[in-house]
């Protein structure tokens, strides 16, 4: 059974909170990781690895650099 967008969002919120301290409710789809959430590239690597563990979807490095917003990651995991 595929995970819903809401489930992915909740999971990402938890991961991002754990790694960066940003409150999970602030992790909303339109947020840009760099401009809105102030997340650096090193933390993005940690987030990607944790998301792979959580959702079982590998995010290759050449894809990761294109995932600019929370919504981008949600879509990538869903598809």
């Amino acid at each position: 059974m595929a995970v819903t967008e809401q489930e992915i969002l909740a999971g990402l919120g938890k991961i991002i909170n754990e790694i960066t301290g940003i409150p999970a409710p602030e992790v909303t789809p339109e947020k840009n990781f760099v401009d809105d959430l102030d997340i650096d590239s090193l933390s993005m690597v940690e987030i990607a690895v944790a998301a792979q563990d959580e959702f079982g979807v590998e995010i290759p490095d050449d894809q990761l650099k294109h995932l600019k917003t929370v919504k981008d990651v949600v879509n990538f995991i869903q598809n």
Partner: protein
């Protein structure tokens, strides 16, 4: 003591040590003669001949937010905690970024990160290494993080000279201010090296005490029955400032940071030079640099680590260059030896002694070794006189690094 150059003063102090998570708790424990040295309970302890150490009294991960602590090596955690206390204590100075510097070093750097990361690498592959592994293991990481937090752009440095690191950092910071590169510099040392590999390696040198049945009695500088040092962890940081800058903002001034003396033994990578020539040179040079005479020095916080070789040599050098009048103590008898953190915390203790006019006693000194003719504070803390007085913190490191820093009452 006046010289035609920028005077440097101390306006902030911060520590986290085996005796307490801040300056106030550590200082009161030192004056009470408490020991921060205890039996270690980790499962690896059975592999080692040394079964005790001086863990930090306050776990840094209980102080820092989790997202912050997970990207910092333990030595960096200690350094940031001590730096924040020192900065607050200095009244969070308003200073232009390009007039603010940082000099904070570590003797070993992020050794527990290195070893844990290598386990991850072997077991799970490179993909599972934290992307923060490199900034956690590099010995300049603490300086970098403090510089980022405070916005220090005058220069961020990390001296590395084993157990002289903290004192050397403070000396370098004084020179940054004197030379006009900065008005305010945050300086000191940090270490987090309690790990079986380190204990095993120091034990392989036969440098550590093995008094396993009495850990609190194991660090006993100048005692006839001393058998080595005790490994501790933590950090000590000071805020140094040009006197002009400190006065202009009405800062509380603890002391003048009067000068620094360095020397190199150029003799052996880990053993003290047997005549004490390097120790005497550092003592002479700190007096010269400070414009002080031996008579001005009323207190020495000695390096004295409780190893058979070093303690007496240092006492002899103090006696010869400074005299038999200063109150000498080794706070390592209570904190253990913080390696790169030692010169940081012990400079803070030297400054506190001057400011509060009291010197903590050296504990466990039951039978004074032969050849020690200086006035070592034993049993109870002793008061320093009023008036204009000065004090020295000695720190010596493997590699033959000898550093003495001098502070004077204001």
């Amino acid at each position: 003591m006046s010289r035609d150059r920028v005077r440097v003063v101390v306006t902030g102090l911060g520590v986290t040590t085996p005796l307490g998570g801040d300056v106030a708790s550590t200082w009161s424990a030192l004056l009470a003669g408490q020991s921060g040295i205890h039996t270690l309970t980790e499962d690896w302890i059975d592999l080692l001949p040394v079964k005790f150490g001086a863990r930090a009294a306050v776990d840094p991960t209980t102080v820092l937010p989790r997202p912050e602590s997970r990207r910092l090596d333990r030595a960096e955690q200690f350094a940031l905690i001590a730096a924040r206390e020192a900065w607050r204590d200095a009244g969070t100075p308003k200073v232009a970024p390009d007039r603010l510097g940082v000099v904070v070093g570590s003797g070993i750097g992020g050794i527990t990160t290195i070893l844990a990361a290598y386990d991850v690498f072997k077991e799970k592959g490179w993909q599972r290494l934290s992307p923060f592994t490199v900034p956690m293991l590099m010995p300049n990481g603490s300086a970098g993080w403090i510089g980022i937090e405070l916005g220090a752009t005058a220069g961020v440095h990390a001296t590395v000279s084993a157990c002289a690191t903290g004192a050397e950092s403070i000396g370098y910071a004084m020179e940054m201010i004197r030379s006009g590169r900065a008005d305010v510099v945050v300086a000191g040392g940090t270490e987090a090296a309690i790990h079986p590999l380190n204990i095993g390696s120091f034990a392989a040198m036969r440098a550590m005490s093995t008094r396993n049945d009495e850990p609190e009695r194991a660090s006993r500088p100048w005692d006839k029955d001393r058998d080595g040092f005790v490994l501790g962890e933590g950090a000590g940081i000071v805020v140094l400032e040009s006197e002009e800058h400190a006065r202009a903002r009405g800062a509380r001034v603890y002391a003048e940071a009067s000068g620094v003396g360095y020397s190199g033994d150029a003799h052996h990578i880990a053993q003290p030079e047997p005549t004490g020539a390097g120790l005497r040179s550092a003592a002479r040079r700190v007096l010269e640099d400070s414009g002080l005479t031996g008579q001005d020095i009323w207190h020495v916080n000695a390096h004295a680590t409780s190893t058979p070789a070093g303690d007496v040599l240092e006492a002899v050098a103090i006696h010869e260059i400074i005299g038999d009048h200063p109150l000498v103590t080794s706070t390592k008898s209570m904190t253990g030896h913080l390696l790169g953190g030692a010169g940081g915390i012990e400079s803070v203790f030297t400054i506190k002694a001057l400011y509060d006019r009291i010197v903590p006693a050296t504990v466990n000194l039951d039978n004074l070794d032969d050849g020690v003719e200086v006035d070592i504070v034993r049993g109870e803390p002793r008061k320093l006189p009023g008036g204009q007085i000065a004090a020295i913190n000695n720190s010596f490191g493997f590699g033959g690094h000898n550093v003495a820093v001098a502070f004077a009452s204001i």
